[in-house]
Symmetry: C2
Subunit: 208 residues, 2 copies
């Protein structure tokens, strides 16, 4: 199922096609494709090139490991995520490796990294659905996370599946329109809350 963003301005097709479905096919994802996803994550930018990201990952070929990840998800996410052939959890290293100072960009840089992964996935027709609905404490306990690392988000990865297999309520959500605030709500110039002339006058020409 495709659900391209209804954009007001043109954007690259990979960004327009990306969305977060709940219906996954049981088609397996090969290791080499998953390596390309991680390679894409690897080349993200980060503050001081700290690369504060880690991933816990498992496929259904290793059922014990897959189930351990699945057990960290909220029940409401397990319902659909258990159909995805790959589960992962992103982890932030919250202090700098050199010196131990807090890295205020750790979560942010994990975000940069994961979006690279998501876009690489989109480019090979995989889908990624991230979840906040999981237990970071259970991840810490089950995987013995170091004190200076923190679980950020869970994610289901796989090829698109048949939404008719989802429970009613989720099937309806799967088909509902996507929505976002307009860019005039969040792009400001000069002072907070003042929509930028760049976005209120998009055909404006530079004068220099």
């Amino acid at each position: 199922m495709e659900k391209p963003a209804e954009t007001h301005y043109p954007i690259h097709d990979l960004l327009r096609q990306r969305w977060s479905p709940r219906a996954f096919s049981d088609r397996a994802v090969s290791h080499d494709v998953l390596c390309s996803l991680m390679e894409a994550a690897r080349w993200a930018p980060s503050s001081s090139n700290e690369q504060p990201w880690h991933f816990l990952i498992a496929t259904k070929e290793t059922a014990v490991e897959y189930d351990r990840l699945l057990s960290c998800l909220n029940d409401s996410n397990q319902v659909w995520a258990r159909l995805a052939p790959v589960l992962a959890i992103s982890i932030a290293h919250t202090v700098f490796a050199d010196g131990g100072e807090t890295n205020r960009h750790a979560f942010h840089d994990v975000g940069l990294c994961v979006e690279n992964l998501v876009i690489e996935a989109t480019s090979v027709e995989l889908m990624v659905h991230q979840m906040a609905g999981f237990s970071p404490d259970k991840v810490r306990e089950l995987f013995e996370l170091p004190a200076d690392c923190e679980a950020v988000a869970a994610m289901a990865i796989g090829y698109p599946g048949d939404s008719s297999l989802l429970p009613d309520r989720l099937r309806q959500r799967e088909g509902s329109p996507r929505s976002r605030k307009p860019i005039t709500d969040f792009v400001f110039t000069g002072r907070w809350g003042h929509p930028s002339p760049i976005v209120t006058n998009p055909i404006g020409k530079e004068t220099r």
Copy 2:
């Protein structure tokens, strides 16, 4: 100047080409192109579709606004960033709009959003260089940020320029090789620190 990632596994060309230069051309960026960058940011995923992102942005066509943003950067960044035709600062709304609970994913979701912006930029041959070296406190003061918002990162946006115009030390950095940890360092299965068989055996086939 191009500086594609030396990847161990194939990744999409947009992700391979993206890097963070310091040499920017003085060629202006049109409003409609900047709107596409913000539109790409707009369609990023976020926890509960909260969209906790804002941007402060200015181009050189509005010198007062540009200089106000520039003044928030550390001196070491002003040296090169002042050549870029566009400056911006990403801002996180750190509590949920509905209820005021802390949004632990605010910085992370700004990261997802900004990487969408960066990849859109790459697709139209723009470059983005993010900086942690700026004063969040000065941003708060100059732009009267609400208490529940926090400046995340500064960024310079523009077309590639001539690195010979950079000061010696920065020109050398511009030409130096890019580096990243191997994926076996950050992709684990089963327990923390245990490299995943997915990345240690990338030609492994799924057995189900």
